[in-house]
């Protein structure tokens, strides 16, 4: 019984963490380049919506995934244009985009599927990794849809790019001192544009994971704060990739725990459990896990 519970707990943790992992990895890159995308939530929601629409229209979740990415790109462009070209405040633009996307997707879904649709949408099925998924206890960890593995691959790729390539140096430098980067001959605006677009793609994948990966449908406001939680994860991770990954898993676990505790007979007010990720992040930021060092130029517009 306990082994089973642990197994479910692990599987649950991963599924809850994967959308965060996608979004947070994208956001991390963008924040390292100096841009905060408060619009992460909106981008994820659009990804979830477009993924569902694409999959429903074509019958193919693959095409749904492509649609998710395509649909989020314009939002990423808007975010990039507003922050890098018009140098608008990044928090305002993010909130504006979130409001806009919530309206757009709600309206769009009702227009397309009808107000009272209960449509199920074609989605990805979980893959059982041969051998590994038969392992006791940790087996369920290896029964994930392939997007989860893609996420892992992307995270490794991001780690490599940030640490070992010229692009990585430019990204990290653009978040510390964009002026200096420009004087060194790199194109800050291009780097930041690119980082935002990457964030958009990652958010789209995260959103699509929710709609066509995990739940196989779309619902209004489906991301339900996951975008904000991903930003919190980046902060909790102190802008380091692996710590951010850990934070996402931790938040996933904290949420998954919520459904295990009743079974274990532990009674804690639900409000406190739901508060957990925020409380943890708060304690972290308050200095319990060392001093936070944000990129110096974070959220500051770059004027050449």
């Amino acid at each position: 019984m306990t082994a089973e519970l642990i197994a479910v707990f692990l599987g649950s943790t991963i599924r809850l963490a994967v959308p965060l992992l996608f979004a947070a990895t994208g956001e991390l890159v963008s924040e390292r380049a100096g841009v905060v995308n408060m619009s992460l939530e909106g981008m994820m929601l659009m990804g979830a919506f477009a993924g569902a629409v694409g999959a429903a229209l074509t019958g193919s979740p693959m095409l749904g995934l492509a649609a998710a990415i395509l649909a989020v790109l314009p939002i990423a462009f808007v975010q990039a244009g507003l922050t890098n070209v018009l140098r608008a405040n990044q928090i305002v633009t993010g909130i504006g985009i979130n409001i806009l996307v919530l309206g757009l997707t709600t309206l769009g879904y009702r227009q397309m599927f009808g107000e009272r649709s209960r449509a199920t949408i074609p989605g990805f099925d979980a893959w059982s990794t041969p051998l590994l998924s038969n392992l006791p206890v940790i087996g369920p960890l290896f029964q994930q849809i392939w997007l989860a593995w893609l996420g892992l691959a992307i995270i490794c790729a991001v780690a490599y790019v940030l640490a070992c390539t010229g692009l990585g140096i430019s990204i990290r430098a653009a978040g510390e001192d964009p002026q200096a980067v420009a004087k060194s001959g790199a194109n800050v605006t291009a780097v930041r544009h690119g980082a935002i677009i990457f964030t958009g793609v990652m958010a789209a994948l995260g959103g699509a994971f929710l709609s066509i990966g995990d739940i196989h449908t779309f619902t209004e406001g489906m991301t339900n704060g996951a975008g904000y939680l991903a930003i919190v994860a980046v902060i909790f991770g102190n802008w380091r990739l692996w710590r951010t990954v850990f934070a996402c898993l931790l938040f996933g676990a904290a949420t998954a725990l919520q459904f295990q505790l009743p079974a274990l007979g532990v009674q804690i007010p639900n409000a406190l459990l739901i508060m957990m990720p925020y409380l943890l992040a708060f304690l972290a930021v308050a200095g319990l896990v060392g001093r936070q060092t944000a990129p110096r130029a974070l959220a500051q517009p770059f004027w050449p």
Binding site: L82, N89, G96, L102, V232, A271, V285
Partner: protein, 360 residues
Amino acid sequence: MSVASLSPSRPPLPASILRLLFPLGAVLAAFAVGMAVVVIMGVPLDKALFAFWRGAFGNAYAISASLNRAVALALVGVGFVIANRAGLTNVGGEGQIAVGGIASTALCLTPGMASLPLGLAFIIPMIGGALAGGMWGALAGLLRARAGANEVITTLLLSFIAIWLLYWSVQSESLLRQPMTNSATLPESLLIPDPTKAPLLTGSYASPVTIGLPILAVVAVIAALALRRSLFGFQLSAVGLNPVAAARAGIAVGSTMVVALFIAGALGGLAGALMLQGEQYSLKAGFSSGYGFDGLVVGLLARGSIVGVIAGALLFGFMRSGGISMEMAASVPSALVGILQGLIVLMIAGAAYYVDREAR
């Protein structure tokens, strides 16, 4: 040159006109786009516009409701601007409203409160709400001053925490939940007694502007004066622009930050108290209604100007009324109203560029 322009240097006159023109143009453009979508959705434009007009300005009630909403948004916005002068971005309005509402409710329901004379019955809970919100803000300030914790993050996290505290406090009878006469009693606090309600200016429900409006007027005038001319405003600017130099100049940087966030939080808490004592009368999970985030947007869009905050709050306050009416009377989908609001925010934010560019 005006005396007022002594402190952080301001752009010359043409920019101040631009400052007005661009946001105005942005709002109009967003409206134009919104109306285009309305037409595409198949709603007759004249019907939608008329409904919007009726809802926003059609009668004394509508205007009053819009004003009350604008007051709450403006309080949060003014608080934002004050903290921002010290270089702090307070995104915790939602939580500060929640905490303010909790404290104000608790005080309103305190035995004996209702029988206090001289309006103390409603004044004390309001002050209590403001203090609670202030404390919530100051907590972020303290962490910033002591541990260097970024206040954008702490205030945001404190918001989420406050929202769930609110949820908990109306769930739990040992906290603020009304006595459970039966198990189906809603998870709300008791109605607050009449004397603790914020008085209506006209005394009539037909135009229920609350005392919040004059309170806001006083707060706004004091804030504007303080930011432009006071020693405190000067200290905020110095701390915001160069904390090390401010410290060297003998300004207590840490306390200034704490005080700035205390004020921002207190205004948020006051907004919460007003929402509760002026309109809702009982505490429910979610009573803050997103006004904290709207107020934040108002504060950000105002770009440091108190007048800008008032203008933005009025815009948002009346727009929401118009939107409600459009949805009801012209069947414009509520989602569309959201789209419109999102567009306006984005366009104003983007238009700021043309002001900045002139100022550079």
